[in-house]
Symmetry: D2
Subunit: 227 residues, 4 copies
């Protein structure tokens, strides 16, 4: 079993900063992802808060992502996230430019480059087709398109705005065959994920729909049940 490998279709769970996904709860949620990955054979990755990365990588085998990496080199940058420190704690990838942590264009470029040099894969979050294409030219492993108005809405982008997923896949692939497209925003059921893959996405980026579920593991199994 290779639950620690990145293969598509992929489910990435952004833990954000909920209490339900902090500390001990974060560890339990990561274990749910691990069980669901073993049971389903689908890659499941977690993006916990920086403070929780180490304890999760010590106790689970799933791929762990940072939620954000700062465009800095080692040195005097109090309060910032240094990629080398996060790698030593076990990250394999990172989210970048999340709608709750938008980044400057030049910083996205810089962090993708330093991630590549260190074999860390990057998932650049974007808000529409145009910024997805712009991000894809910078050569990240993934672009995750999430229309901001649907984030946390419970309305799946794959149903509400399928043309955004389809259009992003088509235009990103034209620019850069190696960048895979994920979709986020409102995805939570097996039907949503099925629709997303049908539209050409290589996986999904999720958050509150799973984090706040009564039974996250069951919700994850349900999510991948129609692939």
């Amino acid at each position: 079993m290779t639950i620690n490998k990145i293969k598509t279709p992929i489910v990435i769970l952004n833990f954000k900063t909920y209490l339900e996904s902090s500390g001990e709860n974060a560890l339990n949620l990561a274990k749910d992802l691990e069980s669901a990955a073993i049971e389903s054979g689908i890659t499941m990755a977690a993006a916990p808060q920086a403070t929780d990365i180490f304890r999760i990588t010590q106790e689970t085998d799933i791929p762990i992502l940072a939620q954000h990496i700062d465009p800095i080199n080692p040195g005097g940058h109090t309060g910032s996230n240094l990629i080398d420190c996060m790698i030593e704690s076990g990250i394999k990838g990172t989210l970048l430019n999340h709608s709750e942590k938008r980044m400057k264009l030049s910083d996205i470029d810089e962090v993708i480059k330093s991630s590549k040099e260190r074999d860390v894969f990057s998932v650049v979050c974007t808000n529409n087709i145009e910024t997805s294409v712009a991000a894809a030219t910078l050569n990240p492993e993934f672009v995750a398109v999430e229309p901001p108005e649907l984030i946390g809405s419970g309305i799946p982008v794959s149903q509400a705005e399928p043309e955004i997923v389809e259009g992003t896949v088509a235009k990103v692939k034209k620019i850069n065959k190696k960048t895979e497209v994920l979709c986020g925003a409102g995805i939570s059921t097996g039907d949503d994920m099925h629709a997303a893959l049908d539209l050409g996405a290589s996986g999904v980026l999720l958050a509150s729909g799973i984090i706040l579920a009564d039974n996250p593991k069951e919700a994850l199994i349900n999510l991948v049940s129609k692939i």
Copy 2:
């Protein structure tokens, strides 16, 4: 021995984002602080990167501070530092408004308040007498005055600009008797620390002078040798 208590004089080491104070090196540096605290009887606290907090609190007994806390409540704040998560990982205090991570006035107020509610002590970094007084009105446990031009300079503020330390102590105490004043910027020797305490400071906030020392533990013992 009570190395996990906050008593003055205090030495706080800001680990910043040096490779020499990241990951395994961060853990070793924290152990050096612990040994020096035991040997000297002086309180020594560490402010490591968020990613390293958990592993350090698991293996040492010294007080651990966050380098920064974001003004957020639990929820959707990807890439931010949630106080509750950091507390669960073991922080006892936090730096705020470091010169490398300056904060908005309203955010400093908000984070001091949420820290107090959770018994986390706050150390507000400031750049001069005026901002030290403004910060002191917000009732943090400590203000750490650091003239920016001396940070990382190797020139100790206690010698180069003693009037800033003395003036800060005098004016802060006039506003708020409960806020203690630390000084930073350029402090590294026993003479520097002695001078700082003589000027009325309750301790020091250090970084590169110790982090990059050939023998950090020895440097720490030397630092507190003339108290």
Copy 3:
């Protein structure tokens, strides 16, 4: 008549970035303020967008404030607001730290100082009693307290939370007798303004209630009718 003098009680109208207060409309609104000032004998000042400062100072005699000044010296700061340039265009004062443009503590300190050196008065906006006191220690001419939840609500702070206005006046005066307190957020009628002055405020900071009024001049005359 001395409508260009700053005396209390004062009415300051923040033009924000409404179309109704941009360009030609901004000029007309400033002329309404001027008429109302002449008619009522009350000081009325305008804080238009940077782009509109020059044309308004050319055609009216009321005091003009910047909405924001950046903490910079002359030089390479593309896209920033240089105090010297704004003074040459005729500003007499500036808003700082508005809830829509919060500033770092150290930057508020820096801009108040450079304003004082150039005889520009500063109005520091704040969100509660605590930050008002902190701001007052930095010695601005005015603090304008505006609970964020009431901004643009139409609910006047002087009625909804009179204790905030009263408390701010009492605590600010204890720290710094020279700093006057304004109140904002939801003020629009003569009763609101009367209540604000009764609570110890030296004037009001207004925006949408006047900008979007059918007849701004009439609304201004009404506002000061019960002083």
Copy 4:
């Protein structure tokens, strides 16, 4: 004579926030650009501070650019730059994402779109080939590539790193034929500009080299003397 038309080769002078290019000095500098445009027949445009836009558009006929536009709609955005207000004051174009005012990727996208809707041309500043290509996918009229280490250095990018100018032109044109490439950083003489055009650039973005020249008009005439 059509000095108010945008045709290439173009010279754009970023006034930044120098005293030498503020207020009355800004107006004089704009008149120097105008004289040089008339004398040389080359398009010369100015990007003054927001505060100076109106007075310059009133007294000169050259195209005026904003230094920055904020990603906002009309409403409550104190201290921001609203495109509609700037258009009313006469801008024809705007710089975006200058190295001194870097923008988030999603904000660059948003402001290019609202500029296009209003027939305002945009010049997106970039730091290398990769970010130039990313910016070009967003369809601005111009990309201005400026290696940050050369800005204000006096070392012309067209000589120090010609491969950056050439590479940017080649890769941008491959993505988007309609986006023209400018180069900046260190350009000041006729040879520099000649080299830039030879490398495929459609013009130059300048600042201190002209602003601080003893005789700016002469420097401008010299700059375009070898086209």
